[in-house]
């Protein structure tokens, strides 16, 4: 059995955003403007662990994006994924989550012997978390979201624990499945020096629209969700009211007064 992990390259959390006419651009003067989506560090780690612990053979990293997105694949290779594939075509640009899911599903179907696909819970740019279940539907596989533990993969079935609002649910499902994982599942390893060298030397193949049998619409023309109107937040800096007093009891009294006035207690 091989495992696919689907990644996204996202703006770094410290990126500085600009909005022009509803369209977003960003830069990160102090660091890398683009990083591997933080949630995906956990999915990459889990894919590698499945090959180490549960008898998976290859851990294959996939991402759809422009040529720059290859950097997130190199991070996955450096951590220990055995293969990486970039899916890139101008025809895919501007896809909504469903268009993205169609492309990813087509690419997953090309990988041999895959029984398990792992996603991070969501990506920190759009923060929608819609793609894992949509990919599962396009593949006809069972989705299992918000996974905190893979406890067993055996006899053609997987047992996982999921983090829900009111507690943790343990579920067994026949393979193949698509799962999304949350932070609790593991502690991602740091890429080793050897891993980084290997990743930098690796040749990463690119799949284009011509290579994939995508079923259904993709790209901006097929998108049903209009994201063109993004705005900046109303600025709230500089108006904190500092609670000062001679004693902590006085501070506590003043703060309590304010919070009762605000009717939040």
């Amino acid at each position: 059995m091989n495992v696919v992990v689907c990644l996204k390259q996202t703006p770094s959390t410290t990126a500085v955003f600009k909005v022009n006419d509803g369209v977003v651009s960003w830069d990160d003067p102090g660091g890398k403007p683009q990083v591997l989506n933080p949630w995906d560090e956990y999915s990459v780690e889990e894919a590698i662990r499945v090959t180490e612990k549960h008898g998976g053979k290859e851990a294959i990293a996939l991402t759809m994006g422009d040529e720059g997105a290859v950097e997130s694949l190199r991070t996955a290779l450096a951590m220990g994924c055995s293969q990486a594939v970039l899916i890139s075509d101008p025809a895919f640009a501007g896809s909504d989550t469903l268009g993205t899911a169609r492309v990813l599903a087509a690419a997953i179907q090309q990988q041999p012997e895959v029984q398990l696909v792992i996603f991070g819970k969501q990506a920190i740019d759009g923060d929608t978390g819609q793609v894992p279940v949509q990919v599962a539907r396009k593949l006809g596989w069972t989705p299992l979201t918000f996974v905190t533990e893979i406890s067993a993969i055996s006899d053609g079935a997987i047992t996982v624990t999921r983090l829900l609002e009111n507690g943790k649910q343990t579920v067994t499902t026949p393979l193949p499945v698509v799962i999304s994982v949350v932070k609790e599942i593991n502690e991602p390893r740091y890429p080793s020096f050897m891993g980084i060298r290997k990743a930098n030397k690796a040749t990463i193949p690119t799949l284009t629209a011509a290579d994939l049998a995508v079923n259904g619409g993709t790209g901006a023309a097929a998108s049903k969700v209009d994201w063109s109107n993004i705005s900046t937040l109303p600025v709230r800096e500089g108006n904190v009211f500092m609670i000062e007093g001679a004693t902590v009891e006085e501070q506590a009294r003043l703060l309590a007064d304010k919070l009762f006035e605000e009717k939040v207690i």
């Binding site: 955003f17 279940v133 932070k183 993004i230």
Partner: protein, 325 residues
Amino acid sequence: MSGVWVWLEHQDSLMAAISKETISAARQVANNLGQPLTALLFGQDVAGVAAAAFDLGVDAVIGADDPVLATFRVSAAAPLVVDLIKERQPAVFLAGHTSTGRDLTAWLAADLDAGLVSDAIQLAVDGDRVVVTRPVYAGKLLGNIRITEGLQLITLRSRAFPAAEATGQTGTAEWLTVSLDEADVPEKLIAFAGRDGGVNLSDAKIIVSGGRGVGGPEGFAPVQALADVLGGAMGASRAAVDAGWVPYDHQVGQTGKTVSPDLYIACGISGAIQHQAGMRTAKTIVAINKDADAPIFKLAHYGVVGDLFKILPALTEEFRQRLGK
């Protein structure tokens, strides 16, 4: 296409808080569109939830009562909803941005080739389209997003909308005849471990959170004490969770939970952008930190610079007296 539908969540035959909020948001949308509001209710022994939905003002309830639907499993419920939507063609479908609502709407979007917008904090109506406002890019920007054609699937952030109020209205639900076979559902439930006490962070009106500044697991005791006296939930920053001081399900922030309480009290939390992403839609934010330059003070409405181990007990005592606890 006509009609606004809401998906109802429930536990122990009681409607979930998020669903009361979804009904109130959906009522506004339905009124603005001039269309009826229908609730969708799947489960086992949920007649009481149907009655509650009518009381909260929905015009109709479509229900399915079956043991296979007792605990939500997307593979059991979603195909039924897909069929219902194809048959009755609602214009808008609203659900909570919860594990259930997220799984269900993503499934519906894929199977119905429909647009989906997640985690709305505000809704407006423009013609026959719903304009969804939601935070994007770690909460640094706001998206005003619309679905350009066909069915509009939308999930709502917990506590972003007021709960619907009782109207005294009654009604008769339409109960579907479903013939479900447990053997057809791939997800088999093996165990469920309920959260050990406390309020669900997403539903909490008040959250008191601790960060690196609490210094260790025992440092969370005064944080919990203040949360308890206020009837709130305890949260934590990533630093505190990664250090192993509190379990992950308390984590607020980018790789934890996104919360919108009325009151958020950040204790010993510097307020990194990752933390802000999870709590900046709180209505009132209080920061308690010994470092006057901590970034959290730029976001906070009220700030106290000082030792949290002195300030928290004083605050807890103050509220204990005022609230008569």
